[in-house]
């Protein structure tokens, strides 16, 4: 018999605290699709993905209904297209992006990730073609997400790639100027990209992964916030160690939901189960916010002094709870702080609590990076490259994932609003102080060597 209290607690999490499965992401290896003919390549990709993903959405919906848990997004990640379509130039890459977009519509998934390249040590022909194709590919498609890994702890930072990505971001923004540079919201620049992220825009299927795999992304910032609120109501003098314990336990419960749903979806589709990515991923909805957790912890706003410490505690507690509750935790697993996707964080940016520097500091202790940050449209390529290089350095030195999803909003300046729509939300454009615009540091090129602690063998 299940106790009423247990039932009521879980119903409260589901109905009032936005507990859901944020994404079930089907990873598809495309290496057996390669061809020297672009049309055949695209046909092979379409046949393989549609065959595997045909029942993804109905299966997720049916299992979500069975457990009373909404699977909010169904997505697909694929092998890095820069490798799969390596023989082709930028036009071929754009053709593959269009194919992926069409597939996403056919099988009714929200996004397909994996228009990606791994260039932390150097760029092959396919990588160069993909990066050159990024602006057009992202501007012309709706559901394709791209990521480029330009740095790693083992290889250092490829500064040539950083500069190229800065140009690609600027061009992508310009091509979607009428939508406040929306194409950039589908593009992440990474250090230490994990091969099994189910969340977008960074999802791709790593080289060492199975032919097909189900990865699950569970969220639940609202559940964590309510757990903290309840704990402090019961015991107003509770210390941070005990609060961290509450967060950990809550994270474990949330992870179990993902594990249950993911394994059943995988079983029904006949595809191996991969990982649960337990990340506190907000949406632009009141009560589904990471920023609100900071206020529950006793800060006036995210961004106020103490925020980095609070985020470090939150991120660590989430990881510990997730690791305990799942046999395979992967992806990013931590707290996201995407500015435009979180009402509370967007508001903190508007009120000036959050600066680009504070955001950068916080990314040293959370699971991602400068995420969905709208910056002035006239930010130079060099300044953009400097911001990305700084963020990559944090990832490289700390042996963690960091990423940049920056949107230089064409024609808008600091303090203006940028609107991206839907889950991507809206945000006040953040000032980039001390930007000379022409710093030669980032144009010197080459590779920043890997840190000494990369020499582990």
């Amino acid at each position: 018999m299940i106790h009423d209290r247990e039932i009521l607690t879980i119903l409260g999490m589901l109905n009032n605290e936005h507990l859901d499965v944020r994404t079930v992401t089907l990873g598809v290896n495309l290496f057996d699709c390669v061809s020297d003919d672009i049309h055949r390549l695209c046909a092979n990709i379409e046949k393989k993905i549609c065959g595997l993903a045909e029942n993804l959405v109905p299966t997720c919906n049916r299992i979500g209904e069975k457990y009373g848990i909404q699977v909010v997004n169904k997505r697909i990640s694929v092998s890095p297209i820069a490798t799969i379509a390596a023989p082709f130039g930028p036009e071929g890459m754009v053709a593959v992006a269009r194919t992926l977009d069409r597939i996403a519509q056919t099988v009714n998934v929200d996004f397909v990730g994996g228009f990606s390249a791994l260039v932390e040590k150097g760029m092959a022909r396919g990588d160069e073609a993909l990066i050159a194709a990024l602006p057009q590919a992202l501007a012309e498609t709706h559901r394709v997400c791209a990521s480029v890994n330009v740095a790693s702890t083992r290889e250092g930072i490829n500064m040539d790639a950083v500069l190229r990505m800065s140009r690609a971001i600027k061009e992508a923004a310009a091509l979607t100027a009428d939508k406040d540079g929306l194409a950039c919201a589908k593009l992440c620049v990474f250090a230490n990209i994990p091969p099994d992220i189910p969340f977008m825009a960074g999802a791709y299927l790593g080289i060492g992964e199975a032919d097909a795999v189900i990865n699950v992304g569970v969220s639940g910032p609202g559940v964590v916030k309510k757990a903290i609120d309840r704990a402090l109501r019961e015991q107003p003098s509770m210390g941070l160690g005990d609060i961290a314990e509450r967060i950990k336990r809550t994270a474990a419960k949330v992870t179990r939901v993902g594990e249950l749903i993911g394994r059943e979806v995988a079983r029904d589709l006949g595809i191996p189960f991969g990982v649960v990515d337990l990340s506190l991923a907000p949406t632009p909805t009141v009560g589904d916010s990471v920023g609100e957790i900071f206020q529950s912890l006793g800060l006036v706003s995210i961004g106020a002094p103490g925020s980095t410490a609070a985020l470090a505690m939150l991120n660590d507690a989430v990881k510990k709870g997730g690791a305990f509750a799942s046999s395979h935790v992967g992806g990013l697993s931590g707290a996201f702080i995407p500015v435009s996707e979180d009402l509370n964080i967007a508001e903190a940016a508007r009120k000036g609590y959050l600066s680009i520097e504070k955001l950068e500091a916080m990314t040293a202790v959370c699971s991602v990076g400068l995420d969905m940050v709208a910056i002035p449209g006239d930010t130079s390529v060099e300044t953009l490259a400097g911001i990305i290089a700084d963020e990559m350095a944090i990832g490289m030195i700390n042996a963690k994932t960091t990423a940049c999803r920056l949107i230089p909003v064409p024609g808008k300046k600091a303090g203006d609003m940028a609107h991206f729509g839907g889950l991507l939300g809206f945000a006040t454009i953040i000032d980039i102080p001390n930007a000379s615009g022409k710093d030669p540091f980032v144009t010197r090129g080459g590779r920043i060597p890997a840190p000494i602690h990369s020499l582990k063998n």
Partner: protein, 183 residues
């Protein structure tokens, strides 16, 4: 060896279980399963016992009543039927919860739908404190839903009826509760 089921109803107080089990023991019975519950002030107990050869159901009931009725207990003894050899149909365990304003006939309405879909309720806790506060009026059904049952149609019927009563209804596979709360 004959099996019987003894039903006991009484105002709750200490010593009911002791009195009933001792009385069955004195008649040579051996308890196989016992379950009890309390609703407000009322004790209800079910005792399945194996009887020695020659001790009839009527005789046991008479003996138990003679000892326990003066203590304020209502006793009914019935023979246990042979189990159905076919067994229950293969099914999956679900938990159905309803919150909402109190009104007459809620349990009857919900259980009628469950019965129509061949759903077997294995446990029901219902609490109606009256008024319109949903949290004060709660039904929790644990139920076995046969694999042959069209769960979409069941869900649709329950939601439709719940909507007419302004009830919030949740229909969820039991595993979601177990996987979250039991590690």
């Amino acid at each position: 060896m004959e099996k019987v089921i003894v039903t006991v109803l009484a105002n709750d107080r200490p010593g009911i279980l002791a009195s009933v089990s001792e009385a069955i023991f004195r008649e040579g019975g051996n308890l196989d399963q016992v379950s009890q519950t309390l609703l407000e002030t009322q004790f209800a107990g079910l005792f399945i016992a194996s009887l020695p050869e020659g001790l009839g159901v009527e005789h046991l009931q008479q003996k138990l009543r003679s000892v326990l009725s003066p203590q304020g207990m209502d006793i009914l003894v019935k023979p246990m039927p042979e189990p159905d050899t076919a067994g229950p149909p293969p099914s999956e365990p679900f938990v159905i919860t309803c919150f909402g304003p109190d009104r007459r006939g809620l349990v009857a309405e919900i259980t009628a739908i469950l019965a129509r879909h061949r759903v077997n309720v294995t446990n029901l806790r219902a609490m109606f404190e009256g008024g319109n506060d949903p949290s004060r009026n709660l039904m929790v059904y644990e139920a076995d839903v046969p694999l042959a049952t069209d769960t979409s149609a069941l869900s649709q019927d329950l939601r439709k009826r719940a909507g007419e009563f302004n009830l919030v209804i949740n229909i969820q596979h039991r595993n979601i509760f177990e996987s979250i709360t039991r590690i």
